[in-house]
């Protein structure tokens, strides 16, 4: 596959762009593979990529029900940060954030990582204490964050109303090296790199069953027939429970809708990401000028990829209070994705009751930021059969043993 470079752009400009190649191939499935990944979203593709790159396993198929990156990878608000409280979360999210820094070079694909800084507002005294504690924890974990004053908040984001009537801003947790990325490009970049390594990305192919013998998976039944495999990775956020059920086990996961929306494009007015967890909303400005807005999940089990209007209303009410200048903005698009929520709001990267079947799920509302780190850890687990240091704490048996990685309190609700 030809490399993308400034010279390639110049060359193609001179010949009317007739020489660009397809970024990935669309092969028919082979009879069997060394490893099959179910789910060609960011996490699935990243898993395949690091299986090939770090562990030399390249006879891999990535099977996707719809189109690649068409699930939550294409539906999130693209925030990348690693300011978590618990050591195991900070480790995997920080690994992920640091991989994002060089991802465009690694993949030879511009994922538009923009380390513009992520600010989490503290608007109650409880939150001030919570974020100061997180900043101290981050210092010990080697994650660069700081607790900043309201004056610094105003300097960094002048459109923010720091003395609002209900919840004045009392400070903020600031991660200068966090930011945003281009969500689709992350999936596309990984897909192109996987295809280049000779892996098969099989789209429009739904898994209908998991075949196993003597406690080991032998392959998957799909709409394109049976495909055999030596190892199976299930990476299907939103439908993890369904695929796990096919494999014969139940996950401590519930599916709920999370919505996001964008406004009409306006001139640049904020160059950081702001999250306001007390009033519950977060916002950043895309390169196109749209304000990208998200809030909390809807409150009931749902697989419809659409949510309830009053949740958007709640989010916008919160953000208008925080950013008065957006009160007259028109909203252009609104959508929903189905997220896996676990009991402790932390992900599962785990072995399963089937010896050669592994699962990566439960990223809840914060999966995008974790894509490279999650893929890295999942590939290590699949290649060696045992979790490496990044995934060690995230097994699915922690719920039975009470080893929770409790981030639902630490991270507020926005994740």
């Amino acid at each position: 596959m030809k490399r993308y470079s400034v010279f390639a752009i110049a060359r193609e400009a001179l010949r009317h762009h007739t020489g660009w190649q397809r970024a990935w191939t669309s092969p028919a499935p082979k009879r069997d593979y060394d490893a099959i990944i179910v789910g060609a979203g960011g996490h699935g593709l990243a898993t395949a990529y690091y299986l090939g790159k770090n562990h030399g396993i390249r006879n891999v198929a990535i099977i996707e029900k719809g189109w690649l990156g068409g699930g939550n990878t294409g539906r999130n608000t693209t925030i990348i940060r690693s300011n978590y409280l618990q050591d195991s979360s900070a480790a995997i999210y920080e690994k992920s954030r640091s991989l994002y820094e060089t991802l465009s070079q690694d993949l030879n694909y511009n994922v538009m990582f923009s380390p513009r800084g992520v600010m989490m507002l503290a608007q109650t005294h409880h939150e001030v204490r919570g974020y100061q504690r997180t900043a101290h924890a981050n210092a010990l974990q080697g994650v660069q964050t700081e607790f900043i004053t309201p004056q610094r908040v105003k300097e960094l984001c002048p459109i923010l109303n720091i003395d609002g009537p209900r919840y004045p801003v009392l400070g903020a947790l600031w991660q200068a090296r966090g930011g945003t990325g281009r969500h689709d490009a992350v999936a596309w970049g990984y897909a192109r790199a996987c295809s280049e390594m000779g892996m098969d990305i099989i789209q429009q192919c739904e898994v209908k069953g998991v075949r196993s013998e003597n406690g080991k998976v032998t392959g998957v039944e799909t709409t394109k027939g049976f495909i055999g495999c030596k190892k199976l990775g299930i990476v299907v956020a939103g439908h993890s429970g369904q695929v796990a059920e096919m494999a014969g086990f139940r996950l401590p996961v519930e599916a709920v809708a999370l919505q996001a929306l964008v406004s009409e494009p306006i001139k640049p007015c904020m160059d950081i990401v702001v999250m306001a967890n007390t009033v519950h909303g977060y916002m950043s400005q895309s390169d196109k000028g749209e304000m990208v807005i998200g809030g909390g999940t809807d409150g009931f089990n749902n697989y419809t990829q659409r949510g309830s209007f009053h949740h958007i209303e709640e989010t916008l009410r919160a953000l208008i209070e925080t950013f008065p200048i957006i009160s007259r903005l028109k909203m252009l698009r609104q959508w929903g994705g189905i997220v896996d929520m676990t009991g402790d709001r932390s992900p599962i990267i785990s072995k399963t009751p089937l010896g050669n079947c592994f699962i990566n799920c439960g990223w809840g509302t914060g999966g995008f930021k974790a894509i490279p780190g999650s893929g890295w850890a999942m590939a290590e687990l699949m290649a060696k059969g045992e979790p490496g240091p990044l995934a060690a704490e995230f097994d699915m048996w922690r719920f039975k043993e009470g080893r929770f990685i409790d981030e639902s309190v630490a991270a507020g609700v926005a994740h």
């Binding site: 429970g241 139940r250 996950l251 401590p252 009931f300 089990n301 009053h310 676990t342 039975k400």
Partner: protein
């Protein structure tokens, strides 16, 4: 917009009047139960894509908890019923079977 009829006050309540309470008919386990039972009670939800029995509270109405049968894939509501029952009433089960012939049943 989800509309559920409160079985106590008969009001067809709209979602903003209600608070969701997730899966219904859980068998509770406490001290003396095994780790597996307790984990299943605490965390292992059925989470079906399809017919789901769940708890709702008419929080801005009569304030009482009731139960609902709803499809998580289409948001279709099959019916609501009072919470003081061990399992879904027969008429609700019949309604679901009529609408979902391939439904595998409540268990």
């Amino acid at each position: 917009m989800l509309l559920l009829e409160c079985p106590y006050c008969g009001v067809k309540a709209e979602e903003t009047e209600l608070s969701p309470g997730y899966e219904a008919h859980l068998k509770r386990f406490g001290p003396g139960s095994t780790d597996e039972e307790f984990e299943a009670y605490m965390f292992a939800r059925k989470n079906p894509k399809g017919v789901h029995f769940e708890r709702w509270r008419h929080s801005y109405g009569c304030g009482k908890w009731f139960l609902a049968a709803r499809c998580t894939a289409t948001l279709e509501v099959f019916g609501t019923y009072p919470a003081q029952v061990g399992e879904p009433p027969a008429d609700i089960i019949e309604k679901i079977k009529a609408r979902r012939p391939d439904w595998k049943g409540y268990k």
